[in-house]
């Protein structure tokens, strides 16, 4: 093998470098040039290996050396992942800054996990125990609220000959299994899914604290969702909201080919925000992967794999993990760019013909599973899509829609009207809504599903009526239909609109969602019965209590505010009715 591992560069064309004299396997890591730039084999043609290089190749010449490692791109998995921020190939950005300064230079390899930090390892198995891949042998308190479960690497099994207790670094041996030393850290090839024993139907909702998502278009734990939208429609804000407030134990956020300032925003905000469930900083359950749009394109391609491998690792510990990929379009574009440098025959819009296969293989790594150690863990994958010209018929959106089960369509028109989140309630869907109805009925309220369909029905009706209003104005509709418009408006403005940057409104618990929607529907019912008994619509819509109802979502004590609103409303309606008679 050694004689085949050194070769030389034959050709350099941007991020694609051709090397001769090595005999690597596909996707093996190869270091090219005098500066040892890291890359991956993406094609083998005769004695020429074609490498996509993760760093800028300016100045690299033919004839410079290349070195094949014989191993694929690996992620380092172990304690210390949480709170980290990595680039697309798991180099910690703070360390890169320390070593290279404010700008990202080339040729620096850095371990994903800190080799010096000692972690307090507490074993949970003893000498003589039989273990197999995935079994938990001990724990480390990784952050105040997350216990890291140290597992036997998937390909190791046997009898424990020795197990330690105390402070260790990630690469010190903590256990010996049938002669094999086991460390807290394991390495796993990012392009290979980690094993599990069984996949389950996702039927428990991921509570995101976002009203339109949880109530109308819920995603399941272990499910997949996509958020397509043109620029300025709020993809990133929605992704940030989801990573802030979802009831996941671990969040992996991949900033894939997006803005540098947005990653900075996450880095500034997350340590300051607290998780509503644990009251500790959100950062403590988060792993960030930042490969901004001007960082090397090949590393962008790798970043989603690095991210999902880390997610799978925490899933294997039995945790619920959410993975946000912002944006999968940039990932697809990275594939397109590499593919076009390889002069491959393009498919639609210049994307490679294997686009659909790669997308589905990625989303397929989501799921609620029984892990090999018998625990239950899940990965929910939520991918943002940035369709050119906000046109959803383009290949990335279309291929994604064929895979994911929840579709949250961001709408430029709503965004221009400053209706946020700008998720279109008519075109979005969730195929999980049916399977999860039972959960909501059992855990929130028995009338959940009927309430949800009622709200959807009103919104649907509004869309039909709007077509008429466009032509003749709302005044020419009968009063009962005008009231429908008013109730729909209340649902839109009070319930669907949610203020991401408001201290209280940013997160809305599922109970609050229920009560808020119920109050709006009750308002609708009461208003309709008043109208039927002869009260004029003009007075009904002017009620003070409606304003209180509208403001309730911003109140810390929303229950009291809602009660006040409904009590006041009963009084007002009674008066209006009295006057009408």
């Amino acid at each position: 093998m050694a004689e085949n591992s050194h070769g030389e560069i034959y050709r350099v064309a941007g991020p694609v470098v051709t090397v001769t004299g090595i005999k690597p396997k596909m996707y093996d890591v190869v270091f090219v040039g005098k500066q040892n730039l890291m890359g991956e084999v993406i094609q083998i043609r005769g004695d020429k290996s074609i490498i996509q290089v993760y760093e800028d190749t300016s100045g690299v010449r033919p004839g410079e050396p290349a070195f094949a490692t014989g191993a694929p791109l690996m992620a380092e998995l172990g304690p210390g992942l949480l709170t980290s921020i990595y680039d697309g190939i798991q180099r910690p950005l703070p360390i890169l800054k320390e070593k290279l300064g404010d700008f990202i230079a080339r040729g620096v390899m850095e371990h994903g996990l800190d080799r010096k930090r000692k972690w307090a390892f507490v074993p949970c198995v003893k000498k003589g125990d039989k273990v197999k891949g995935g079994d938990v042998i001990g724990t480390v308190q990784e952050t105040p609220n997350t216990q890291h479960r140290v597992m036997i690497p998937p390909n190791v099994s046997g009898v424990i000959e020795d197990i330690k207790n105390g402070g260790f670094t990630v690469d010190e041996t903590v256990c010996i299994v049938s002669g094999k030393p086991v460390q807290m850290m394991q390495r796993w090839p990012v392009r290979t899914p980690r094993p599990f024993s069984k996949k389950h139907t996702p039927d428990i909702p991921l509570i995101t604290g976002q009203r339109i998502l949880d109530t109308l278009f819920p995603v399941a734990k272990g499910g997949t969702a996509c958020i397509p939208g043109g620029f300025g429609t709020g993809k990133t804000v929605t992704q940030h909201q989801l990573s802030k407030w979802s009831d996941s134990e671990v969040v992996v956020y991949i900033g894939c080919g997006e803005r540098g300032n947005e990653m900075t925003e996450v880095l500034t905000e997350f340590p300051e925000l607290t998780d509503p469930r644990t009251n500790s900083p959100l950062m403590e359950r988060t792993v960030l992967i930042a490969n901004t749009s001007n960082m090397p394109v090949a590393a962008r391609e790798a970043s989603v794999y690095t991210g999902i491998t880390i997610a799978e690792y925490y899933r294997d510990m039995g945790y619920g993990v959410s993975l946000m990929a912002d944006s999968t379009s940039r990932w697809a574009e990275a594939m397109r760019e590499i593919s076009s440098r390889l002069e491959e025959m393009p498919g639609e819009d210049g994307y490679p013909a294997y686009l659909a296969a790669k997308l589905s293989a990625f989303y397929e790594r989501a799921g609620r599973v029984t892990t090999t150690n018998g625990k239950e863990g899940s990965i929910t994958v939520i991918g943002a899509v940035s369709p050119p010209g906000a046109d959803f018929s383009e290949p990335v959106t279309q291929n994604t829609l064929r895979i994911v089960k929840a579709f949250w369509a961001l709408d430029t028109k709503l965004a221009n009207r400053r209706h946020f989140p700008a998720i279109n309630w008519l075109t979005s869907y969730s195929l999980y809504a049916g399977t999860m109805e039972k959960w909501f009925n059992d855990n929130v309220s028995p009338d959940w599903s009927s309430m949800r369909s009622k709200a959807m029905e009103i919104l649907q009706k509004e869309a039909e009526l709007q077509e008429v209003v466009q032509l003749v104005g709302s005044d020419s509709l009968p009063e009962s239909e005008q009231l429908t418009l008013e109730i729909a408006r209340a649902i839109r403005e009070i319930f669907l609109q949610q203020h991401a940057y408001h201290d209280v409104d940013s997160f809305c618990s599922i109970q609050k969602q229920y009560k808020l929607l119920k109050s709006i529907l009750d308002y609708g019912k009461a208003a309709r019965s008043a109208l039927d008994s002869g009260a004029p619509l003009s007075e009904i819509v002017k009620m003070k209590s409606r304003a209180i109802l509208a403001k309730s979502k911003y109140e810390e004590n929303f229950e009291k505010s809602l009660e006040d609103a409904m009590a006041e409303m009963a009084k007002e309606l009674a008066e209006i009715k009295k006057r009408a008679i």
Binding site: V12, G59, I85, K97, D102, P388
Partner: protein
Amino acid sequence: MMAKEYRTITDIVGPLVFVEKTEPVGYGELVNIALPDGTVKRGQVLDSSKDMVVVQVFEGTASIDRSSGVTFLGETIKLPVSKEMLGRIFDGSGTPIDGGPQVIPEKRLDITGAAINPWARENPSEPIITGISSIDGLLTLVKGQKLPLFSGSGLPHNEIALQIARQAKVIGKGDEFAVVFAAMGITNEEAQYFIRDFERTGALKRAVVFLNLADDPAVERLITPRLALTAAEYLAYEQEMQVLVILTDMTNYAESLREVGAAREEVPGRRGYPGYTYTDLASIYERAGKIKGKKGSITQIPILSIPGDDWTHPVADLTGYITEGQIAVSRELHRKGIYPPINPLPSLSRLMRLGIGAGMTRDDHRSVEQGLYAAYAEGRDLRGLVAIVGKDALSERDRKFLDFADIFEDKFIRQGKDEDRSFESTLELGWDLLAYLPEAALTRIDRATLEKYHPAYRNKPNGAERGIKKQS
């Protein structure tokens, strides 16, 4: 080291020259091509292999023949930088064209520029005041932001850019401001206009100008913005200046990118633009920013003249995905004779949230912005309705909003080309306009703010009496 000269050109295609039988040549290296008549053209290596080197020639391949000599300089393109660049005018490849001497470099910097480590970035949060109400009030620009002007042919985007360049300042601080101006493929007339204006207003003193004109080689356009940003990075991060970079016109830049892509016979993406257009544009736009621990900053205002005013055009679309919002220059407002014709509705400043409010601008800024935005949006919606049902069919309230839209355009958006409005006067103007509406209609403004700033609650005459009326 004496570089070898090769006379082994095999093919010349568009802006590309193919050279064979060379020693190993570095990717991205700078190339000199000596023509038989003695002129020397510059280029860059696009593809280097043991058999063939592809060179992209910046000044165009006109009069290059197969006997021309090719020399590889062994380094990537560098720009000599110094503080002396302020006040100077250069061509699109960095040679002075103002008759002055060569710049004595303090440093020579690689023009590609490395990516800022996201960890080293500082969250942008300090507003830049441009003196233009529609921007300061509704689309506040923040230090380190990239906020393009989405415009079209025949619209006054150049005037707006110049006005911003002249008037930009930071609230209450004595920071040094510099403007780096990069023109790509603009006409000589436009260039003259810019230079005259810079000279007239004295803005040239604090500006560095790079000009690639319409008749300059298209390929040169690919390096002009990178030269400008390299100069900007030097001024910002080494000279601690607040740098505003104006790039005009990014559409021409993208055309050049397409031209080179086509010459290389690459697989085209949408509308013939190469598949890597997004990444390439990002490598320019993402050079805006602010770095932790450094005083300087780079703020970008790229200008796009969008073909056919179609925002789904790849250049506008990809730009929108990278930049932090956009300022829409509206043909409709321009036709109405309003300058600057900035339509706030399709415009957006994503970083505004971080740069406004108490301690930054003023505590009521958010309220005024939301109030004006909502009212103007409603007014414009009503214009559509009036066209169908007539004004008489409107309620009293709706008529107020309809009028509001007109007054807003006339008083708030419209301002003189040399009118530098203070930030306070922009907000006051905003309140005066809001006071024109019934108070109950201002639902987006909370009680406390209303009572603190609304003219009706302060000891001064309300908007109507202060002369803001609907003029028929």
